[in-house]
């Protein structure tokens, strides 16, 4: 098979699995899981430096930003102003222009606040950011994000950290059919087969954090997700058979004894 790469804003990545770096027991565990997952992109959060504890380990000491693409994320922001401030700071740390925008609207279900998200996407794009946008699985809103310059559409499968898998396959299919932008399922996956389903729907990639970090065996789950994404992508590219109501025998009738 020809090398099938994920392209986002003209940049190519070998892996279609993006992983989060939160919720791990330690930085060491996080770094090892990422290594096993073979992900090229990891999401990271922007937070205050602990100025009283200087010995606290730094993420960059464990995951080399020269080898793995850091995708700064605005997780924890509940309005456009906070999200813009966060990403402008992220850019300042070291020139990151490819970012993930996530503006939340509700502390319990963590659904995205789409009006603020749309507004932020437009502003950030005008400022030169390449914005990968966490959004609802709403085809109309996905279209509007595309129209204001989003670099990738990242609909949720289910609420963040819920592990429910893709709740609305039809909507994901509609979004896939309407856009040529990278479509990446973000949030809500629970097990490896959920990633395969996303890829079989024609998504360009998946973003997974909790399902790996909080699995009983994170390293094994990292490997499972890696394989699941590859399997799903191959399955999608191979062209599945049509679904039929009746059976169709696999062995020829001729020569039956």
């Amino acid at each position: 098979m020809k090398r099938d790469k994920l392209t986002i804003s003209k940049k190519q990545f070998n892996s279609r699995l993006i992983v989060g770096t939160g919720k791990y027991k330690s930085m060491t565990e996080c770094a090892k899981a990422i290594n096993i997952s073979e992900a090229d992109i990891v999401t990271v959060a922007v937070r205050r430096v602990n100025i009283t504890d200087k010995k606290k380990p730094l993420l960059m000491d464990y995951i080399d930003p020269k080898k793995i693409t850091y995708l700064p994320n605005t997780a924890g922001c509940f309005n456009s102003e906070e999200a813009l401030r966060t990403l402008r700071l992220a850019r300042e740390i070291g020139g990151w222009k490819l970012v993930k925008l996530e503006v939340l609207g509700d502390k319990k279900n963590l659904f995205p606040e789409m009006i603020e998200t749309l507004k932020s996407t437009e502003i950030l794009t005008k400022e030169g950011f390449k914005v990968m946008v966490y959004c609802n699985d709403d085809p109309l809103m996905a279209k509007r994000l595309e129209n204001v310059g989003a670099a990738a559409i990242m609909p949720l499968a289910a609420p963040i950290g819920s592990g429910l898998g893709i709740l609305n396959k039809i909507n994901i299919q509609i979004i896939r059919d309407q856009t040529k932008l990278p479509l990446i399922i973000d949030a809500g996956l629970g097990q490896a087969s959920d990633a395969t389903i996303a890829m079989e729907l024609g998504c360009d990639g998946v973003l997974v954090n909790t399902a790996i970090a909080k699995a009983k065996k994170p390293f094994e789950m990292a490997k499972a997700f890696k394989n699941a994404v590859v399997a799903g992508r191959q399955s999608f590219l191979s062209g599945r058979i049509e679904k039929k109501v009746m059976g169709s025998a696999s062995s020829p009738k001729k020569g039956i004894i």
Partner: protein
């Protein structure tokens, strides 16, 4: 004796000498400059210019970096 002033660093009040350079403060805090971004009174600071900035009373500084997140 140099006058001491109150400033806020990452939300907490700190006392420093008046007109301390931002670059000296960063050095004293042992913050790795390459791995952080700095905001002074809600404005992002160009890290190249931190030796030209003298801190004054009630300045609010935010120093951020990347941590694990989803």
């Amino acid at each position: 004796m140099k006058k001491k002033i109150k400033i806020k660093i990452n939300g907490k009040i700190n006392k420093i000498y008046d007109k301390t350079k931002l670059s000296d403060l960063i050095k004293n805090l042992e913050v790795p400059l390459k791995k952080v971004a700095i905001e002074l009174n809600k404005e992002i600071v160009d890290k190249k210019n931190i030796n030209k900035i003298n801190l004054k009373v009630n300045d609010e500084i935010e120093i951020v970096h990347f941590i694990g997140g989803g």
